[in-house]
Symmetry: C2
Subunit: 83 residues, 2 copies
């Protein structure tokens, strides 16, 4: 399992409710691909959303995001992380 940071563009004016709904939709089916979405952040002004996940592959992350209707524009493995 690797950590991934994925980035979505085009979410200008996203609200807290929309971010929560998207995250809930992903979490509802994430286990089917062995993915766990840990956190998400959004910048409504630039329309950028970041999701941090743990997953077996970037393809697994993308499959979940595609099924819930919000394909990621970038998915980067982030094997290094610190608190």
């Amino acid at each position: 399992m690797t950590q991934f940071m994925d980035v979505h563009h085009g979410w200008k004016d996203i609200t807290a409710e929309q971010l929560q709904q998207a995250h809930d939709a992903d979490q509802a089916i994430e286990k089917e691909e062995g993915v766990h979405f840990e956190r998400a952040w959004a910048d409504p002004e630039s329309g950028t959303v970041y999701c941090l996940s743990e997953a077996p592959s970037p393809e697994a992350v993308q499959r979940i995001h595609e099924r819930t209707g919000h394909r990621a524009d970038e998915i980067h493995p982030v094997p290094l992380s610190i608190w």
Copy 2:
């Protein structure tokens, strides 16, 4: 105080030690600008580093990063965040 996600490019082949050193250098002086760097993630393959911080402004985040020798390429406020 707002949360910010900043992104650095050009860190290809960054090691865990280098990420830790950069993060430690930022944290050593962060209080001078009222910034707190919470987490950092890195993808050595694409050379991308993400830092999550809490700060009074993006300029404050950048001033710390500049003083420690690693200017951020992007700094996005992420006022929305969920676990």
